[in-house]
Amino acid sequence: MSAILELNGVSKEFAVNGRRTKAVDNVSFAVEKGECLAIVGESGSGKSTIANMILGIYGTTAGTIAFAGEPLPERREKRHRRAIQLVQQNPLSSLNPRRTVGASLRLALDVHEIGPKAERAARIGALLQEVGLEPDYARRSPAALSGGQRQRVAIARALACESELVVLDEPTSALDVLVQARVLRLLAELKAKRGLTYVFITHDLSVVRNIADRVAVFERGRLIEIGTTEALFSSPTQDYTRRLISAVPVVSDEEAAMRQHIMGDQA
């Protein structure tokens, strides 16, 4: 196994009201190629700050981030921007409302010069089909799509430039549960088919349980626990992780029993 992404001693400080606040505090972890690493934590735990540093939107205050074995510069090169892409929580605000779906995808292809120009229109159709939409959706505007369809377009855009690592920031939190299940399935299929690597940021542990290979738990900017999904859910080592798991609202007696069991271990 080789690490596609490596964070080494990464910190990020912000100045808030003249005081310096550590949003991310000395965090190190690696993401293996082809895995889905979930980053979980409550609001203020630093999970979105980490996403923004991986993407190069924020620089780091200390520490280094390496991609495919080479350290990423503060100012990213185009090839880095192509390889690391983002899917955000709310596709209504991440897609330009003035652009048709086709134009949004086209922009990604043009900027990164993917394939010969003449073939790009066909590529857009193929991308849409890959995310489960008809090719003629290219003519529609985001406003004419449902929430689930919009998120599919946002996923297609992240894949358009043949990205290798996709940062998924709460990609299904704004969706209804039936739609969420379909979008999650699509993400799992695409990952297998394209050999993608995911950094999946979410607060929803029941989603994490079913999609992630490994989980990193953050509390107030610090990485407090990291492990395989199986191990983390069956025997969490930190109280904070236990509290997170036991607070998840569940729909079956079997799940309620498991929560009970996890809290029971603490006593």
Binding site: L184, R185, R209, R243, A247, V248, V250, V251, M258
Partner: protein
């Protein structure tokens, strides 16, 4: 048996738009007994929030809304009330909690000013000192440690969970008989959501308040409600006690919803068929949970 706290019969709602009528509710009936916690669960656009707004009388003020059906609150026909009397019910006999606590509170007034307004709805002559005392007691009830400090704070100085507790305290301050809670935990972190719901649950039990709990989250409903109505595209499709619904869901829509929830015990991402046939099947009421049986 005394009248239920809330009884809605054959409620229909449409909006008149330039392109014609858009039907939102197709005749829903539900009721909440005294002290009962009833959930209305459905996806976005199913009509759950508009139902609460109609009960409060807020939607009636929109000129394009076309509403029919009957609303009965503690034996009073709400539609026969004068607007003034209906207005008087809000914030006193019935109150509401919204999803986003930080935007439900006014950012330019400290919490106390807003709290006093709420208390003054029930007792317009309430004085500064008395209001302060009552507010402090109410905040202590929702486990706020420093009620004095919170009262002098603005909403943006408090956390989301703290604001939601302030909202709960305000909503229950005048001891309403009906609380409408529209996704009260959705904007909060899971651990805070769990605490908030537990607190709300304990308080409504102490006060004997009836609750209409609106949510899209089946897990939260399972933990909070005594009884559940499932709503799909403006129709109630299944009604049951919470236990019945989760152990033996019957309607195709409810089954699809439940099977779509990822489980914390694992099992992979559920495979949901695109097939929505059957979602519009007629209402299924579990034994002993139909309107007729409950209201007999």
């Amino acid at each position: 048996m005394s009248a239920p706290t809330l009884k809605i019969e054959n409620l229909k709602l449409g909006f008149k738009l330039w392109s014609g009528m858009v039907e939102v509710l197709h005749g829903i009936s539900l009721h909440i007994g005294k002290g009962e916690r009833v959930a209305l669960v459905g996806e976005s656009g199913s009509g759950k929030s508009v139902t609460a707004r109609i009960v409060l009388g807020m939607l009636q003020e929109i000129s394009t809304a076309r509403i029919s059906g009957s609303l009965n609150f503690e034996g009073i026909d709400l539609d026969k009330l004068k607007p003034r009397d209906r207005h008087h019910l809000r914030g006193t006999r019935m109150s509401m909690i919204f999803q986003d606590p930080t935007s439900s509170l006014n950012p330019v007034y400290p919490i106390f000013t807003q709290f006093r307004e709420v208390l003054a709805r029930a007792n317009p002559a309430i004085g500064e000192a008395e209001a302060r005392m009552k507010a402090i007691a109410a905040l202590a009830d929702v486990s706020i440690n420093e009620p004095e400090r919170v009262l002098d704070s603005y909403a943006f100085q408090l956390s989301g969970g703290m604001n939601q507790r302030v909202m709960i305290a305000m909503a229950l301050a005048n001891n309403p008989s009906l609380l409408l809670a529209d996704e009260p935990g959705t904007a909060l972190d899971v651990t805070v959501q769990a605490q908030t719901l537990k607190l709300m649950s304990d308080l409504v039990e102490q006060h004997g308040t009836s609750v209409l709990f609106i949510s899209h989250n089946l897990g939260v409903v399972r933990e909070f409600a005594d009884r559940v109505y499932v709503i799909y595209k403006g129709r109630i499709v299944e009604q049951a006690t919470t236990k019945q619904l989760f152990s033996d869901p019957q309607h195709p829509y409810t089954r699809a919803l439940l099977s779509a929830v990822p489980r914390i015990t694992g099992g992979g991402i559920p495979d949901i068929a695109e097939d929505t046939a059957g979602f519009l099947d007629p209402l299924i009421a579990h034994p002993g949970a139909s309107e007729k049986e409950r209201l007999a």
